[in-house]
Assembly symmetry: C2
Homo-oligomer: 395 residues x 2
C-alpha cells in the first residue's frame, strides 16, 4: 500500500535539477570553466571565519554531551534569546524568545508557519513569480495555493488582481522579498498598501489573515534600495528566515520563524509550532549549528560579489536588447526570453553553454531566471555567449 499521493509526485521532474544535471555532464565534456551554469542558487562566497572558529570551538568543547545534546523543542533557549535581541536591535520591534521558533532552514520555517495558521480547505495567496516549492508546502496541508498574476513592469504587487482574489477563504498571504526569482524588493509603499488591504479585509471578513514573509534573502539588498522590514507594518506577520544565504550555510539547515510581538496570538503560534514538529518529525535544527549561528548573529558572509555580478549582467543584457527589471537584491535576475516559449529559449541557450531556467514553474511563462552566484570573471565571459544567442534570434 504505497502512498499514491507521493508516488504521483515522482513524475513531476524539477526543471532546475534537470538543467543542473545537464550542466554537470556537459562540464565533463568541455571543462567546467566553459559552462555558464546559472541554474542553482548555491551561495558562492565562504561562511565568515568567525563562524568557523566558533564551530571548531564548540566541537572541541570538553562537555560534548551539552553541545550535542537535545535541543528543547522550540530551539535552544539562549539561541532564541539572541535571535530575538538581534531582530529587536535591528528592526525596532520588541521580540522576545517567546516569539522565536528555531527551524531547519526556511523550508522548515514555512512548513511550520503555514501549518500553524492554515487549515485544510483554506486558501493561501502568493504572487507570481514565486518559488515552486510553495506548492508542496501548501498542498501538504490540503489547502489551496492561488497565485496572483505578476506585475511585469516592476515585479511589485499587482494589487488589482490581488484584491479580486482575496476572498474570505484566504487565511494566509505568502510573500517573498527580496524575491526569488525576480530579484525585486518590495518597497515601503508596496508593503504599506498590502498591510492596509489585509487590515481592512480582516475586519470585513471577521477573521485573521496572516502574512507569511519568506525572507532568506533579507541580507542581500543592493545599495540604496528601499527594503523595509515587513513585520513593521502588519501585526499578524510570521517572518520565515534562513541563514542559508546570509552565512552561506544552505546545507546546515538553520533558520527560524519569528512571530511579530504585536500579533495577539504570537506566543500561542510559537508553542503550536512545537506541536506541529512532533507530527512531521522535524524536532529542531542541529544543536551545534544553532549554537554557532547565535555567536555570529549579526554577521554575514561578504555578499558584495552579488551586487557586482548583478551590475555586469544587468548592463550587459540590457545592452544586448534583453528586457529586464533591475534586481534590488538576491542573486537572481529575471529577464524576458527572446521568444514567447521560454522553454524553447532555454533549450536554444544550451547551444552556447548557457544554463538558464525557464520561469514556467515560477508561474511566469516567457521569462527566465539566472542565479548569478558564480565567479565574476565567468559572469563577464558569459556575455559573449549571450551576444551569440541574441544574434541567433536576429537571423
Amino acid at each position: 500500500m504505497i502512498a499514491e499521493k507521493y508516488k504521483q509526485m515522482l513524475g513531476q521532474k524539477s526543471v532546475i535539477r534537470e538543467l543542473s544535471e545537464y550542466a554537470t555532464e556537459r562540464a565533463k565534456q568541455i571543462g567546467a570553466e566553459n559552462i555558464f551554469d546559472y541554474s542553482l542558487g548555491n551561495p558562492s562566497v565562504p561562511v565568515p571565519q568567525e563562524f568557523t572558529d566558533q564551530l571548531v570551538k564548540l566541537a572541541s568543547s570538553d562537555n560534548p554531551m551539552a553541545v550535542h545534546g537535545y535541543s528543547p523543542s522550540l530551539g535552544i533557549t539562549s539561541v532564541r534569546e539572541k535571535v530575538a535581541a538581534s531582530l529587536s536591535r535591528r528592526f525596532g520591534l520588541n521580540y522576545k524568545k517567546e516569539h522565536i521558533f528555531m527551524t531547519s532552514g526556511a523550508a522548515g520555517a514555512l512548513a511550520h508557519a503555514l501549518r500553524s495558521v492554515v487549515a485544510a480547505g483554506d486558501e493561501v495567496l502568493t504572487f507570481a513569480p514565486f518559488f515552486p516549492e510553495y506548492t508542496p508546502y501548501v498542498h501538504g496541508l490540503d489547502a489551496e495555493l492561488k497565485v496572483v498574476p505578476p506585475n511585469t513592469e516592476t515585479f511589485q504587487i499587482n494589487f488589482d488582481a490581488f484584491e479580486e482574489m482575496l476572498s474570505p477563504k484566504v487565511s494566509a498571504v505568502l510573500i517573498n522579498t527580496p524575491n526569488n526569482p525576480s530579484g525585486a524588493v518590495y518597497s515601503t509603499e508596496t508593503i504599506k498598501k498590502l498591510a492596509s488591504i489585509l487590515t481592512q479585509k480582516q475586519e470585513e471578513f471577521g477573521h485573521d489573515i496572516y502574512l507569511i514573509s519568506d525572507e532568506p534573502y533579507r541580507e542581500i539588498v543592493f545599495n540604496h534600495v528601499d527594503a523595509p522590514y515587513v513585520a513593521t507594518y502588519y501585526a499578524n506577520t510570521l517572518t520565515c528566515y534562513s541563514f542559508s544565504k546570509s552565512l552561506s550555510l544552505p546545507g546546515e539547515r538553520i533558520g527560524y520563524v519569528a512571530v511579530n510581538p504585536n500579533c495577539p496570538d504570537a506566543e500561542l503560534i510559537v508553542n503550536m509550532c512545537g506541536q506541529i514538529s512532533r507530527g512531521i518529525g522535524h524536532n529542531c535544527p542541529p544543536s551545534i549549528i544553532q549554537l554557532a549561528v547565535a555567536e555570529v548573529i549579526d554577521q554575514t558572509s561578504d555578499l558584495s560579489v552579488y551586487e557586482k555580478n548583478k551590475d555586469i549582467l544587468y548592463d550587459g543584457l540590457t545592452k544586448l536588447g534583453f528586457s529586464c527589471v533591475k534586481p534590488g537584491g538576491t542573486f537572481y535576475i529575471f529577464p524576458k526570453a527572446l521568444e514567447e516559449d521560454a522553454v524553447a529559449f532555454s533549450k536554444r541557450a544550451l547551444k552556447y553553454d548557457l544554463i538558464l531556467v525557464p520561469a514556467d514553474s515560477f508561474g511566469c511563462p516567457g521569462y527566465f531566471r539566472m542565479a548569478y552566484c558564480i565567479p565574476t570573471e565567468k559572469v563577464e565571459r558569459s556575455l559573449a555567449a549571450f551576444e551569440k544567442l541574441a544574434e541567433d534570434y536576429k537571423q
Copy 2:
C-alpha cells in the same frame, strides 16, 4: 484562523517533560548530586574523539562552500554509499545507496517511513509499551495507531492479541527493538514468528504490510543477548535508525531510513521519501554532520556504562522486591510500580528525590520507566532511596 488541531495538542502536557522540569527546580534547592533523575533518555557518555576530529577537520576545510552546501534531497551520495556498505558488511543484506534515505534523526526517519507506506484511513499496529511520540506521527497522516497489549512476562510480542488485531486495514506494523521503555530485545524467535504471520497475512489480504523497525538503540545490546537484525527476516522492512544514542549526538539530528534491498518497491520508497520531504519542510539532515558521521560509520561511543548501570539497578531493585523483566539492551529499565496507580507511585517517589516516569503514556499502566544514562556512582547511591520508598509501602 489558528489551526485548531495543533492548538488542542497544547493541552496534552508531557509527563516526562514535567518531571524533568521538576528535577531541575529541585536540584537548585538540594544540589544536583542529591536528585536521582531517571526521567530523560539523554546519552551520558561522550561522542568518540574520532568524530570530533572529523568534525573539526570538515569545519576547517578550505572549501567551506562544499562542506556547508546543499545536500541532495535523498542525502549526500557518498554518505548514503557508506551507510549502505556498513549495513551490508554487518548484516549481510545487499544494501546499495539506492536503499538509503538520510534523515533528521529517528523522528525524521519514522515520519518519512510512515508517510511512504500508510495512507489516510489506514491502521498502524504497534506494541505496548511504546514510545508515545508514535501517536503524533501516525495521527499526522490521518491514520489510526492501534496498540497491541503487552506480554508483561517478557515484553516480547503478545501474538494472540496481535493476530486478532491484524485486519486488512493494517498497512504497517511498527516495532521498536531494543525497546524504549521496556529494555526488552526481540529474540530471533519473536522476529521469525512476526515475519511469518506478516507474510501469511500479506498473501491472505492481497496487499503489502510493511514492517517499520525503529532501531535507535541497536548498538546498545548487553552481553550474550540474542539481538537479530530485523530486516533479515522480512523483505518489506523499513529500518529507521538514528545515531543519537550510538554516537551520543541526539541534538545533531542525524539518522536514516534503510529499505530492505529485497523489498520489491525499495527504490520507489526511497525516492518517495524525497518527495515527502518537500511537503513537510524536512530537506535533509545537516551536511557537515552527514559527512562527519560517515567517517565513523562503524564506531560507537563507549556504551559499556549502560550495562554496568543496568546490572546494579536490576540486582538492587529485585533484591528490594521490585518485579522487573531483565533489560536486554537500551538504557531503560521498566519495573512494576509498588501500587496499581503508577502516577501515585511516581509522586510518592519524589519524597525520596527519585524521578521515575509512570508508564501510562507508554500504554502500560502500573509500570514505571527509568532512564539510567546517569553516572554509575549516582545509580549506586539511589538504591538507598529505593529502599526507603519500598519501606514506605510496607507500612
